[in-house]
Symmetry: C2
Subunit: 325 residues, 2 copies
Protein backbone atom coordinates (compact mmCIF):
# COMPACT_ATOMS: atom_id res chain seq x y z
CA UNK A 1 0.00 0.00 0.00
CA UNK A 2 2.57 2.52 1.07
CA UNK A 3 5.58 1.20 -0.84
CA UNK A 4 7.38 0.69 2.45
CA UNK A 5 10.14 -1.92 2.71
CA UNK A 6 10.88 -3.72 5.97
CA UNK A 7 14.07 -5.63 6.83
CA UNK A 8 13.25 -9.04 8.23
CA UNK A 9 16.50 -9.89 9.97
CA UNK A 10 16.35 -13.66 10.38
CA UNK A 11 19.87 -13.82 11.82
CA UNK A 12 18.70 -11.66 14.67
CA UNK A 13 15.66 -13.89 15.07
CA UNK A 14 14.30 -13.89 18.56
CA UNK A 15 12.19 -16.53 20.20
CA UNK A 16 8.92 -15.36 21.74
CA UNK A 17 10.38 -15.87 25.21
CA UNK A 18 13.05 -13.26 24.43
CA UNK A 19 10.41 -10.60 24.02
CA UNK A 20 9.68 -9.73 27.60
CA UNK A 21 9.66 -6.00 28.03
CA UNK A 22 10.79 -5.61 31.68
CA UNK A 23 13.88 -3.48 31.99
CA UNK A 24 15.85 -3.98 28.78
CA UNK A 25 19.21 -5.63 29.38
CA UNK A 26 22.20 -3.59 28.38
CA UNK A 27 25.73 -5.00 28.23
CA UNK A 28 27.86 -3.34 30.92
CA UNK A 29 31.56 -2.96 31.56
CA UNK A 30 32.34 -6.54 32.58
CA UNK A 31 31.44 -8.09 29.26
CA UNK A 32 31.89 -5.07 26.99
CA UNK A 33 33.25 -6.04 23.54
CA UNK A 34 33.99 -2.37 22.75
CA UNK A 35 36.59 -1.82 25.48
CA UNK A 36 40.33 -1.65 24.58
CA UNK A 37 42.10 -4.98 24.96
CA UNK A 38 39.02 -6.87 23.81
CA UNK A 39 39.39 -6.12 20.09
CA UNK A 40 39.09 -9.84 19.30
CA UNK A 41 35.46 -9.81 20.50
CA UNK A 42 34.39 -7.80 17.44
CA UNK A 43 34.91 -8.59 13.74
CA UNK A 44 38.20 -7.09 12.41
CA UNK A 45 38.18 -3.30 12.26
CA UNK A 46 37.35 -1.36 9.08
CA UNK A 47 38.80 1.93 10.27
CA UNK A 48 40.52 3.27 13.36
CA UNK A 49 42.03 6.57 14.45
CA UNK A 50 45.23 6.05 16.45
CA UNK A 51 46.90 9.29 17.52
CA UNK A 52 49.55 7.27 19.33
CA UNK A 53 49.96 4.56 16.69
CA UNK A 54 49.42 0.85 17.35
CA UNK A 55 48.57 -2.10 15.09
CA UNK A 56 45.02 -2.64 13.75
CA UNK A 57 42.81 -4.65 16.13
CA UNK A 58 45.02 -3.91 19.10
CA UNK A 59 44.47 -1.40 21.90
CA UNK A 60 45.55 2.23 21.51
CA UNK A 61 42.77 3.49 19.21
CA UNK A 62 40.74 6.65 19.72
CA UNK A 63 37.82 5.80 17.41
CA UNK A 64 37.20 2.34 15.98
CA UNK A 65 34.76 1.19 13.26
CA UNK A 66 33.86 -2.51 13.02
CA UNK A 67 31.17 -4.53 11.23
CA UNK A 68 28.14 -5.21 13.42
CA UNK A 69 28.45 -8.75 14.80
CA UNK A 70 24.71 -9.29 14.36
CA UNK A 71 24.07 -7.38 11.15
CA UNK A 72 20.60 -6.54 9.88
CA UNK A 73 22.03 -6.69 6.34
CA UNK A 74 25.02 -8.49 4.79
CA UNK A 75 27.48 -7.27 2.19
CA UNK A 76 27.47 -10.55 0.25
CA UNK A 77 24.77 -11.50 -2.27
CA UNK A 78 23.10 -10.08 -5.34
CA UNK A 79 20.37 -7.53 -5.28
CA UNK A 80 17.64 -9.62 -6.82
CA UNK A 81 14.08 -8.38 -6.55
CA UNK A 82 11.43 -11.07 -6.92
CA UNK A 83 7.66 -10.98 -6.85
CA UNK A 84 5.80 -13.09 -4.29
CA UNK A 85 2.27 -12.84 -5.63
CA UNK A 86 1.30 -9.22 -5.00
CA UNK A 87 4.27 -8.66 -2.66
CA UNK A 88 7.92 -7.88 -3.38
CA UNK A 89 11.05 -9.18 -1.73
CA UNK A 90 14.78 -8.84 -2.25
CA UNK A 91 17.75 -10.29 -0.45
CA UNK A 92 19.09 -8.27 2.45
CA UNK A 93 22.16 -6.77 0.83
CA UNK A 94 23.82 -3.89 2.62
CA UNK A 95 26.28 -3.06 5.34
CA UNK A 96 25.84 -2.62 9.07
CA UNK A 97 28.75 -1.06 10.97
CA UNK A 98 29.42 0.15 14.50
CA UNK A 99 31.36 3.32 15.24
CA UNK A 100 32.93 2.93 18.72
CA UNK A 101 33.25 6.56 19.71
CA UNK A 102 35.78 6.34 22.53
CA UNK A 103 38.00 3.77 24.26
CA UNK A 104 36.60 4.96 27.61
CA UNK A 105 33.68 2.73 28.59
CA UNK A 106 32.00 5.29 30.82
CA UNK A 107 32.31 8.35 28.58
CA UNK A 108 29.16 9.62 26.85
CA UNK A 109 29.17 11.65 23.66
CA UNK A 110 28.02 14.68 25.68
CA UNK A 111 31.03 14.31 28.00
CA UNK A 112 33.63 14.07 25.22
CA UNK A 113 35.70 17.09 24.20
CA UNK A 114 34.77 18.97 21.03
CA UNK A 115 37.85 17.47 19.34
CA UNK A 116 36.78 13.95 20.30
CA UNK A 117 33.25 14.52 19.00
CA UNK A 118 34.64 15.96 15.80
CA UNK A 119 36.68 12.80 15.29
CA UNK A 120 33.48 10.73 15.58
CA UNK A 121 31.72 12.97 13.07
CA UNK A 122 34.70 12.63 10.76
CA UNK A 123 34.55 8.83 11.03
CA UNK A 124 30.88 9.01 9.90
CA UNK A 125 32.07 10.96 6.88
CA UNK A 126 34.91 8.61 5.98
CA UNK A 127 32.68 5.54 6.15
CA UNK A 128 29.98 7.20 3.99
CA UNK A 129 32.54 8.17 1.35
CA UNK A 130 33.92 4.62 1.29
CA UNK A 131 30.55 2.84 1.20
CA UNK A 132 29.21 5.06 -1.60
CA UNK A 133 31.64 3.29 -3.93
CA UNK A 134 29.45 0.17 -3.72
CA UNK A 135 26.98 0.99 -6.50
CA UNK A 136 24.34 -1.31 -5.06
CA UNK A 137 23.78 1.11 -2.18
CA UNK A 138 21.18 3.89 -2.46
CA UNK A 139 21.32 5.35 1.01
CA UNK A 140 23.64 5.41 4.00
CA UNK A 141 21.94 5.89 7.33
CA UNK A 142 24.02 7.03 10.30
CA UNK A 143 22.34 6.99 13.69
CA UNK A 144 22.91 6.61 17.41
CA UNK A 145 20.76 5.02 20.12
CA UNK A 146 21.79 6.32 23.53
CA UNK A 147 20.37 4.48 26.53
CA UNK A 148 18.39 1.26 26.77
CA UNK A 149 15.03 2.98 26.35
CA UNK A 150 16.24 4.40 23.02
CA UNK A 151 17.22 0.95 21.78
CA UNK A 152 20.89 0.68 22.83
CA UNK A 153 21.95 -2.83 23.84
CA UNK A 154 25.52 -1.89 24.77
CA UNK A 155 26.46 0.71 27.35
CA UNK A 156 29.79 1.72 25.73
CA UNK A 157 29.13 4.83 23.63
CA UNK A 158 28.73 3.98 19.93
CA UNK A 159 26.92 4.97 16.75
CA UNK A 160 25.72 2.76 13.89
CA UNK A 161 25.75 2.96 10.13
CA UNK A 162 23.49 1.01 7.78
CA UNK A 163 24.06 1.11 4.00
CA UNK A 164 20.81 0.34 2.20
CA UNK A 165 19.89 -0.81 -1.31
CA UNK A 166 16.85 1.51 -1.13
CA UNK A 167 15.88 4.94 0.13
CA UNK A 168 14.05 4.76 3.48
CA UNK A 169 10.63 6.34 3.90
CA UNK A 170 11.57 9.36 6.00
CA UNK A 171 14.22 10.41 3.48
CA UNK A 172 11.79 9.86 0.59
CA UNK A 173 9.19 12.08 2.23
CA UNK A 174 11.62 14.84 3.14
CA UNK A 175 13.29 14.89 -0.25
CA UNK A 176 9.95 14.93 -2.09
CA UNK A 177 8.66 17.69 0.18
CA UNK A 178 11.80 19.78 -0.30
CA UNK A 179 11.56 19.27 -4.07
CA UNK A 180 7.93 20.48 -4.08
CA UNK A 181 8.90 23.61 -2.14
CA UNK A 182 11.73 24.28 -4.59
CA UNK A 183 9.43 23.74 -7.57
CA UNK A 184 7.20 26.65 -6.49
CA UNK A 185 9.66 28.92 -4.70
CA UNK A 186 13.07 28.12 -6.21
CA UNK A 187 14.42 28.18 -2.67
CA UNK A 188 15.56 25.50 -0.26
CA UNK A 189 12.87 24.91 2.38
CA UNK A 190 15.52 24.27 5.06
CA UNK A 191 17.28 27.56 4.22
CA UNK A 192 13.90 29.29 4.53
CA UNK A 193 13.37 27.63 7.89
CA UNK A 194 16.78 28.68 9.20
CA UNK A 195 16.20 32.26 8.02
CA UNK A 196 12.75 32.56 9.62
CA UNK A 197 13.74 30.85 12.86
CA UNK A 198 16.90 32.93 13.29
CA UNK A 199 14.89 36.10 12.71
CA UNK A 200 12.22 34.95 15.16
CA UNK A 201 14.63 33.55 17.76
CA UNK A 202 12.05 31.76 19.90
CA UNK A 203 12.87 28.26 18.69
CA UNK A 204 16.68 28.62 18.57
CA UNK A 205 18.62 26.44 21.01
CA UNK A 206 22.24 27.12 19.97
CA UNK A 207 24.00 29.03 17.22
CA UNK A 208 27.61 29.32 16.15
CA UNK A 209 29.50 30.43 13.02
CA UNK A 210 28.31 27.54 10.81
CA UNK A 211 25.55 25.66 12.59
CA UNK A 212 22.18 26.44 14.11
CA UNK A 213 20.32 24.18 16.56
CA UNK A 214 16.56 24.64 16.77
CA UNK A 215 13.32 23.11 17.97
CA UNK A 216 11.33 22.65 14.73
CA UNK A 217 8.00 24.49 14.45
CA UNK A 218 6.04 21.24 14.13
CA UNK A 219 8.13 19.22 16.62
CA UNK A 220 6.73 15.71 16.86
CA UNK A 221 8.06 14.92 20.32
CA UNK A 222 8.96 17.17 23.23
CA UNK A 223 12.47 18.65 22.99
CA UNK A 224 13.09 17.36 19.45
CA UNK A 225 16.12 19.36 18.24
CA UNK A 226 17.63 19.74 14.76
CA UNK A 227 21.18 20.87 13.95
CA UNK A 228 21.51 22.44 10.51
CA UNK A 229 24.49 23.97 8.69
CA UNK A 230 23.74 27.59 7.82
CA UNK A 231 25.39 27.19 4.43
CA UNK A 232 23.24 25.21 1.98
CA UNK A 233 24.55 21.71 1.24
CA UNK A 234 22.72 18.49 0.38
CA UNK A 235 25.26 15.92 1.56
CA UNK A 236 26.74 15.43 5.02
CA UNK A 237 29.93 13.95 3.56
CA UNK A 238 30.59 17.06 1.46
CA UNK A 239 30.62 19.40 4.45
CA UNK A 240 33.96 21.17 4.84
CA UNK A 241 36.12 20.68 7.90
CA UNK A 242 35.07 23.89 9.63
CA UNK A 243 31.40 22.88 9.45
CA UNK A 244 32.29 19.57 11.02
CA UNK A 245 34.05 21.45 13.83
CA UNK A 246 31.06 23.74 14.32
CA UNK A 247 28.71 20.76 14.29
CA UNK A 248 30.75 19.06 17.03
CA UNK A 249 30.58 22.23 19.12
CA UNK A 250 26.83 22.64 18.64
CA UNK A 251 26.16 18.94 19.23
CA UNK A 252 28.09 18.93 22.50
CA UNK A 253 26.21 22.00 23.65
CA UNK A 254 22.78 20.51 22.82
CA UNK A 255 23.55 17.14 24.44
CA UNK A 256 24.90 18.81 27.57
CA UNK A 257 21.84 21.04 27.77
CA UNK A 258 19.54 18.03 27.43
CA UNK A 259 21.52 16.17 30.10
CA UNK A 260 21.13 19.06 32.54
CA UNK A 261 17.55 20.04 31.79
CA UNK A 262 16.11 16.57 31.27
CA UNK A 263 18.28 14.48 33.63
CA UNK A 264 20.43 12.70 31.02
CA UNK A 265 17.63 11.32 28.88
CA UNK A 266 17.97 8.40 26.47
CA UNK A 267 17.94 9.72 22.91
CA UNK A 268 18.12 8.87 19.22
CA UNK A 269 20.31 10.86 16.86
CA UNK A 270 19.87 10.53 13.09
CA UNK A 271 21.94 12.10 10.30
CA UNK A 272 19.73 13.19 7.39
CA UNK A 273 21.55 13.45 4.05
CA UNK A 274 20.59 13.27 0.37
CA UNK A 275 20.14 9.86 -1.34
CA UNK A 276 23.26 8.78 -3.24
CA UNK A 277 21.83 8.67 -6.75
CA UNK A 278 19.54 11.68 -6.68
CA UNK A 279 20.60 15.16 -7.61
CA UNK A 280 19.03 16.92 -4.69
CA UNK A 281 21.80 19.52 -4.48
CA UNK A 282 19.54 22.51 -5.15
CA UNK A 283 16.78 21.71 -2.69
CA UNK A 284 17.91 19.25 0.00
CA UNK A 285 19.85 20.33 3.08
CA UNK A 286 21.64 17.83 5.32
CA UNK A 287 21.04 18.02 9.05
CA UNK A 288 21.11 16.04 12.29
CA UNK A 289 17.95 15.27 14.28
CA UNK A 290 18.11 14.56 18.02
CA UNK A 291 15.06 13.07 19.69
CA UNK A 292 15.18 12.58 23.46
CA UNK A 293 12.99 9.69 24.55
CA UNK A 294 11.06 11.19 27.42
CA UNK A 295 7.70 9.45 27.43
CA UNK A 296 6.70 5.94 26.38
CA UNK A 297 3.79 7.35 24.33
CA UNK A 298 5.78 6.93 21.12
CA UNK A 299 4.17 3.51 20.66
CA UNK A 300 0.89 5.08 19.72
CA UNK A 301 2.42 7.88 17.69
CA UNK A 302 4.48 5.26 15.91
CA UNK A 303 1.40 3.28 14.98
CA UNK A 304 -0.58 6.21 13.65
CA UNK A 305 1.84 8.81 12.32
CA UNK A 306 -0.12 11.16 14.52
CA UNK A 307 1.72 13.27 17.07
CA UNK A 308 0.56 14.99 20.24
CA UNK A 309 3.42 17.01 21.66
CA UNK A 310 2.89 18.21 25.23
CA UNK A 311 5.65 20.86 25.04
CA UNK A 312 5.60 23.76 22.59
CA UNK A 313 8.88 24.02 20.65
CA UNK A 314 9.27 27.60 21.85
CA UNK A 315 9.16 26.40 25.45
CA UNK A 316 11.54 23.50 24.83
CA UNK A 317 14.03 25.87 23.16
CA UNK A 318 13.77 28.29 26.05
CA UNK A 319 14.41 25.55 28.62
CA UNK A 320 17.48 24.28 26.73
CA UNK A 321 18.74 27.78 25.97
CA UNK A 322 18.65 28.84 29.61
CA UNK A 323 20.74 25.92 30.87
CA UNK A 324 23.99 27.26 32.32
CA UNK A 325 26.85 25.09 31.09
Amino acid sequence: MTGRWVIVAADRQKRPSDFRLDRPTILGRDHCPFCPGREDLTPPEILSYRQNGGAPNSAGWDVRVVPNKFPALQVEGSLERVGDGMYDRMSGVGAHEVIIETPDHGRTLAAMSEQEIERVLWAYRERIVDLKRDVRMQYILVFKNHGAAAGATLEHSHSQLIALPLVPDFVREEVDGARRHYATKERCVFCDMIRQDLADGARIVVENADVVGLAPYASRLAFETWLLPKRHGARYEDAPRHECESLARALKSVLQRMDRALESPPYNLVVHTAPIFEDASAFYHWHVEIIPKLTPVAGFEWGTGFYINPTAPEEAAEVLRSVRL
Copy 2:
Protein backbone atom coordinates in the same frame (compact mmCIF):
# COMPACT_ATOMS: atom_id res chain seq x y z
CA MET B 1 8.39 19.60 4.17
CA THR B 2 6.15 16.62 4.67
CA GLY B 3 2.84 18.40 5.17
CA ARG B 4 2.58 16.80 8.60
CA TRP B 5 0.50 18.45 11.34
CA VAL B 6 1.38 18.08 15.01
CA ILE B 7 -0.89 18.78 17.95
CA VAL B 8 0.83 20.96 20.51
CA ALA B 9 -1.31 20.30 23.57
CA ALA B 10 -0.56 23.23 25.86
CA ASP B 11 -3.15 22.12 28.42
CA ARG B 12 -1.18 18.94 28.91
CA GLN B 13 1.99 20.97 29.17
CA LYS B 14 4.67 19.25 31.19
CA ARG B 15 7.57 20.81 32.96
CA PRO B 16 11.01 19.42 32.15
CA SER B 17 11.15 17.78 35.58
CA ASP B 18 8.09 15.70 34.66
CA PHE B 19 9.98 14.05 31.83
CA ARG B 20 11.97 11.45 33.69
CA LEU B 21 11.69 8.11 31.97
CA ASP B 22 12.08 5.72 34.93
CA ARG B 23 9.16 3.37 35.27
CA PRO B 24 6.15 5.27 33.96
CA THR B 25 3.56 5.86 36.62
CA ILE B 26 0.18 4.35 36.01
CA LEU B 27 -2.89 5.14 38.07
CA GLY B 28 -3.94 2.04 39.99
CA ARG B 29 -7.11 0.89 41.75
CA ASP B 30 -6.93 3.21 44.78
CA HIS B 31 -7.26 6.42 42.80
CA CYS B 32 -8.99 5.09 39.68
CA PRO B 33 -11.46 7.61 38.24
CA PHE B 34 -12.94 4.91 35.96
CA CYS B 35 -14.26 2.62 38.73
CA PRO B 36 -18.03 2.51 39.48
CA GLY B 37 -19.06 4.83 42.29
CA ARG B 38 -16.47 7.42 41.21
CA GLU B 39 -18.42 8.77 38.22
CA ASP B 40 -18.00 12.31 39.55
CA LEU B 41 -14.24 12.09 38.95
CA THR B 42 -14.76 12.24 35.16
CA PRO B 43 -16.62 14.84 33.09
CA PRO B 44 -20.33 13.91 32.63
CA GLU B 45 -20.85 10.85 30.43
CA ILE B 46 -21.63 11.07 26.72
CA LEU B 47 -22.88 7.51 26.39
CA SER B 48 -23.35 4.51 28.63
CA TYR B 49 -24.69 1.00 28.25
CA ARG B 50 -26.72 -0.06 31.27
CA GLN B 51 -28.24 -3.54 30.99
CA ASN B 52 -29.66 -3.17 34.47
CA GLY B 53 -30.71 0.46 34.19
CA GLY B 54 -29.50 3.23 36.48
CA ALA B 55 -29.25 7.00 36.08
CA PRO B 56 -26.51 8.64 33.97
CA ASN B 57 -23.30 9.28 35.91
CA SER B 58 -24.21 6.76 38.58
CA ALA B 59 -22.89 3.21 39.03
CA GLY B 60 -24.51 0.29 37.20
CA TRP B 61 -23.07 0.84 33.71
CA ASP B 62 -21.41 -1.81 31.54
CA VAL B 63 -19.59 0.54 29.14
CA ARG B 64 -19.18 4.27 29.72
CA VAL B 65 -17.93 7.02 27.37
CA VAL B 66 -16.72 10.33 28.84
CA PRO B 67 -14.76 13.34 27.54
CA ASN B 68 -11.04 13.08 28.29
CA LYS B 69 -10.33 15.20 31.36
CA PHE B 70 -7.03 16.35 29.81
CA PRO B 71 -8.01 16.62 26.15
CA ALA B 72 -5.48 17.05 23.35
CA LEU B 73 -8.19 18.92 21.40
CA GLN B 74 -11.28 20.86 22.44
CA VAL B 75 -14.73 20.97 20.88
CA GLU B 76 -15.06 24.75 21.25
CA GLY B 77 -13.52 27.23 18.82
CA SER B 78 -13.44 27.92 15.13
CA LEU B 79 -11.21 26.14 12.66
CA GLU B 80 -9.15 29.08 11.56
CA ARG B 81 -5.98 28.35 9.61
CA VAL B 82 -3.37 31.10 9.75
CA GLY B 83 0.05 31.48 8.24
CA ASP B 84 3.03 32.09 10.51
CA GLY B 85 5.67 33.06 7.97
CA MET B 86 6.32 29.84 6.07
CA TYR B 87 4.52 27.73 8.68
CA ASP B 88 0.83 26.99 9.21
CA ARG B 89 -1.18 26.76 12.37
CA MET B 90 -4.80 26.29 13.33
CA SER B 91 -6.58 26.14 16.64
CA GLY B 92 -6.87 22.71 18.20
CA VAL B 93 -10.50 21.97 17.47
CA GLY B 94 -11.64 18.40 17.88
CA ALA B 95 -12.89 15.91 20.43
CA HIS B 96 -11.03 13.57 22.76
CA GLU B 97 -13.12 10.89 24.46
CA VAL B 98 -12.44 7.88 26.66
CA ILE B 99 -14.31 4.60 26.29
CA ILE B 100 -14.28 2.84 29.69
CA GLU B 101 -14.63 -0.76 28.57
CA THR B 102 -15.76 -2.42 31.78
CA PRO B 103 -16.75 -1.50 35.34
CA ASP B 104 -14.27 -4.15 36.61
CA HIS B 105 -10.94 -2.47 37.35
CA GLY B 106 -8.85 -5.60 36.92
CA ARG B 107 -10.44 -6.96 33.74
CA THR B 108 -8.42 -6.65 30.50
CA LEU B 109 -9.99 -6.61 27.04
CA ALA B 110 -8.51 -10.07 26.41
CA ALA B 111 -10.25 -11.42 29.53
CA MET B 112 -13.69 -10.03 28.67
CA SER B 113 -16.37 -12.23 27.11
CA GLU B 114 -17.03 -11.95 23.41
CA GLN B 115 -20.31 -10.20 24.22
CA GLU B 116 -18.53 -7.66 26.41
CA ILE B 117 -15.91 -6.97 23.71
CA GLU B 118 -18.66 -6.60 21.14
CA ARG B 119 -20.30 -3.98 23.32
CA VAL B 120 -17.04 -2.00 23.36
CA LEU B 121 -16.73 -2.25 19.58
CA TRP B 122 -20.33 -1.10 19.27
CA ALA B 123 -19.58 1.91 21.48
CA TYR B 124 -16.74 2.85 19.07
CA ARG B 125 -19.27 2.72 16.26
CA GLU B 126 -21.92 4.78 18.04
CA ARG B 127 -19.45 7.52 18.92
CA ILE B 128 -18.09 7.67 15.35
CA VAL B 129 -21.61 7.97 13.91
CA ASP B 130 -22.43 10.77 16.36
CA LEU B 131 -19.18 12.73 15.90
CA LYS B 132 -19.39 12.58 12.10
CA ARG B 133 -22.30 15.01 12.34
CA ASP B 134 -19.84 17.75 13.30
CA VAL B 135 -18.84 18.89 9.80
CA ARG B 136 -15.57 20.37 11.03
CA MET B 137 -14.20 16.86 11.62
CA GLN B 138 -12.33 15.04 8.85
CA TYR B 139 -11.23 11.91 10.65
CA ILE B 140 -12.13 9.96 13.76
CA LEU B 141 -9.30 7.97 15.25
CA VAL B 142 -10.12 5.14 17.67
CA PHE B 143 -7.23 3.54 19.50
CA LYS B 144 -6.21 1.76 22.67
CA ASN B 145 -2.95 1.88 24.66
CA HIS B 146 -2.67 -1.18 26.88
CA GLY B 147 0.07 -1.12 29.52
CA ALA B 148 2.35 1.68 30.63
CA ALA B 149 5.02 0.91 28.04
CA ALA B 150 2.40 1.37 25.31
CA GLY B 151 1.44 4.79 26.67
CA ALA B 152 -1.43 3.98 29.07
CA THR B 153 -1.53 6.21 32.14
CA LEU B 154 -4.50 4.49 33.77
CA GLU B 155 -4.66 0.80 34.61
CA HIS B 156 -8.44 0.43 34.22
CA SER B 157 -9.10 -0.93 30.71
CA HIS B 158 -10.12 1.83 28.31
CA SER B 159 -9.89 2.99 24.69
CA GLN B 160 -9.69 6.51 23.33
CA LEU B 161 -11.24 8.41 20.47
CA ILE B 162 -9.91 11.57 18.86
CA ALA B 163 -11.96 13.48 16.29
CA LEU B 164 -9.66 15.50 14.05
CA PRO B 165 -10.08 18.50 11.73
CA LEU B 166 -7.57 16.85 9.36
CA VAL B 167 -6.61 13.44 8.02
CA PRO B 168 -3.57 11.99 9.85
CA ASP B 169 -0.49 10.87 7.91
CA PHE B 170 -0.89 7.13 8.20
CA VAL B 171 -4.43 7.30 6.85
CA ARG B 172 -3.36 9.62 4.04
CA GLU B 173 -0.60 7.22 2.97
CA GLU B 174 -2.79 4.14 3.13
CA VAL B 175 -5.68 5.73 1.30
CA ASP B 176 -3.41 7.11 -1.43
CA GLY B 177 -1.66 3.74 -1.81
CA ALA B 178 -4.94 1.87 -2.01
CA ARG B 179 -6.20 4.39 -4.59
CA ARG B 180 -3.08 3.85 -6.75
CA HIS B 181 -3.56 0.07 -6.62
CA TYR B 182 -7.19 0.48 -7.62
CA ALA B 183 -6.25 2.83 -10.47
CA THR B 184 -4.14 0.13 -12.16
CA LYS B 185 -5.92 -3.06 -11.06
CA GLU B 186 -9.53 -2.00 -10.38
CA ARG B 187 -9.34 -4.15 -7.26
CA CYS B 188 -9.06 -3.37 -3.54
CA VAL B 189 -5.49 -3.98 -2.39
CA PHE B 190 -6.72 -5.24 1.01
CA CYS B 191 -9.08 -7.73 -0.69
CA ASP B 192 -6.10 -8.92 -2.77
CA MET B 193 -4.06 -9.28 0.39
CA ILE B 194 -6.76 -11.31 2.15
CA ARG B 195 -7.15 -13.58 -0.90
CA GLN B 196 -3.41 -14.24 -1.27
CA ASP B 197 -2.78 -14.70 2.45
CA LEU B 198 -5.74 -17.06 2.91
CA ALA B 199 -4.55 -19.14 -0.07
CA ASP B 200 -1.01 -19.18 1.30
CA GLY B 201 -1.97 -19.75 4.93
CA ALA B 202 1.47 -19.08 6.44
CA ARG B 203 0.66 -15.61 7.78
CA ILE B 204 -2.87 -16.33 9.04
CA VAL B 205 -3.38 -16.09 12.80
CA VAL B 206 -7.16 -16.54 13.13
CA GLU B 207 -10.11 -16.84 10.79
CA ASN B 208 -13.85 -16.98 11.30
CA ALA B 209 -16.98 -16.43 9.18
CA ASP B 210 -16.41 -12.71 8.62
CA VAL B 211 -12.96 -11.75 9.82
CA VAL B 212 -9.38 -12.80 9.16
CA GLY B 213 -6.43 -12.01 11.43
CA LEU B 214 -3.00 -12.04 9.82
CA ALA B 215 0.63 -11.01 10.23
CA PRO B 216 1.17 -8.62 7.29
CA TYR B 217 3.85 -9.57 4.75
CA ALA B 218 5.90 -6.44 5.49
CA SER B 219 5.25 -6.38 9.26
CA ARG B 220 7.07 -3.44 10.79
CA LEU B 221 7.37 -4.83 14.29
CA ALA B 222 7.45 -8.40 15.58
CA PHE B 223 3.97 -9.92 16.01
CA GLU B 224 2.16 -7.02 14.36
CA THR B 225 -1.34 -8.40 13.61
CA TRP B 226 -4.15 -7.00 11.46
CA LEU B 227 -7.84 -7.94 11.67
CA LEU B 228 -9.73 -7.42 8.41
CA PRO B 229 -13.36 -8.08 7.44
CA LYS B 230 -13.47 -10.52 4.54
CA ARG B 231 -16.29 -8.56 2.95
CA HIS B 232 -15.08 -5.31 1.36
CA GLY B 233 -16.11 -2.18 3.25
CA ALA B 234 -14.40 1.20 3.60
CA ARG B 235 -15.90 2.36 6.91
CA TYR B 236 -15.78 0.71 10.30
CA GLU B 237 -19.04 2.32 11.34
CA ASP B 238 -20.91 0.81 8.38
CA ALA B 239 -20.01 -2.78 9.32
CA PRO B 240 -23.12 -4.87 9.97
CA ARG B 241 -23.79 -6.40 13.39
CA HIS B 242 -22.54 -9.88 12.48
CA GLU B 243 -19.14 -8.48 11.41
CA CYS B 244 -18.89 -6.69 14.72
CA GLU B 245 -19.62 -10.01 16.48
CA SER B 246 -17.00 -11.79 14.38
CA LEU B 247 -14.49 -9.00 15.02
CA ALA B 248 -15.04 -9.35 18.79
CA ARG B 249 -14.43 -13.11 18.54
CA ALA B 250 -11.27 -12.71 16.44
CA LEU B 251 -9.96 -9.86 18.62
CA LYS B 252 -10.40 -11.87 21.81
CA SER B 253 -8.62 -14.81 20.23
CA VAL B 254 -5.65 -12.70 19.03
CA LEU B 255 -5.27 -10.87 22.37
CA GLN B 256 -5.44 -14.15 24.31
CA ARG B 257 -2.87 -15.70 22.01
CA MET B 258 -0.55 -12.73 22.47
CA ASP B 259 -1.04 -12.90 26.24
CA ARG B 260 -0.07 -16.58 26.30
CA ALA B 261 2.78 -16.52 23.77
CA LEU B 262 4.32 -13.18 24.70
CA GLU B 263 3.54 -13.01 28.44
CA SER B 264 0.78 -10.38 28.36
CA PRO B 265 2.62 -7.72 26.39
CA PRO B 266 1.72 -4.01 26.36
CA TYR B 267 0.13 -3.19 23.01
CA ASN B 268 -1.41 -0.49 20.84
CA LEU B 269 -4.61 -1.12 18.91
CA VAL B 270 -5.69 1.25 16.12
CA VAL B 271 -8.90 1.22 14.07
CA HIS B 272 -8.20 2.17 10.45
CA THR B 273 -11.22 3.53 8.60
CA ALA B 274 -11.83 5.81 5.58
CA PRO B 275 -11.69 9.62 6.00
CA ILE B 276 -15.14 11.15 6.47
CA PHE B 277 -15.26 13.33 3.37
CA GLU B 278 -13.54 11.07 0.84
CA ASP B 279 -15.31 8.57 -1.31
CA ALA B 280 -12.91 5.71 -0.75
CA SER B 281 -15.68 3.11 -0.90
CA ALA B 282 -14.26 1.26 -3.93
CA PHE B 283 -10.67 0.94 -2.80
CA TYR B 284 -10.29 1.38 0.97
CA HIS B 285 -10.96 -1.44 3.44
CA TRP B 286 -11.35 -0.81 7.16
CA HIS B 287 -9.32 -2.93 9.56
CA VAL B 288 -7.84 -3.05 13.05
CA GLU B 289 -4.08 -3.10 13.65
CA ILE B 290 -2.62 -4.54 16.85
CA ILE B 291 1.03 -3.84 17.65
CA PRO B 292 2.51 -5.49 20.74
CA LYS B 293 5.29 -3.42 22.24
CA LEU B 294 8.02 -6.00 22.76
CA THR B 295 11.29 -4.12 22.34
CA PRO B 296 12.21 -0.49 23.04
CA VAL B 297 13.82 -0.20 19.60
CA ALA B 298 10.78 1.65 18.31
CA GLY B 299 12.50 4.95 19.16
CA PHE B 300 14.90 4.56 16.31
CA GLU B 301 12.34 3.15 13.90
CA TRP B 302 10.08 6.01 14.83
CA GLY B 303 12.73 8.58 13.95
CA THR B 304 13.63 7.12 10.59
CA GLY B 305 10.57 5.37 9.17
CA PHE B 306 12.94 2.47 8.73
CA TYR B 307 12.05 -0.89 10.24
CA ILE B 308 14.15 -3.90 11.16
CA ASN B 309 11.87 -6.71 12.27
CA PRO B 310 13.63 -9.60 14.03
CA THR B 311 10.71 -12.01 13.58
CA ALA B 312 9.40 -13.09 10.16
CA PRO B 313 5.60 -12.66 9.93
CA GLU B 314 5.29 -16.34 9.01
CA GLU B 315 6.99 -17.29 12.27
CA ALA B 316 4.96 -14.84 14.33
CA ALA B 317 1.72 -16.22 12.83
CA GLU B 318 2.82 -19.78 13.54
CA VAL B 319 3.62 -18.96 17.16
CA LEU B 320 0.25 -17.27 17.70
CA ARG B 321 -1.65 -19.95 15.77
CA SER B 322 -0.21 -22.78 17.83
CA VAL B 323 -1.24 -21.30 21.20
CA ARG B 324 -3.78 -23.61 22.83
CA LEU B 325 -6.58 -21.52 24.29
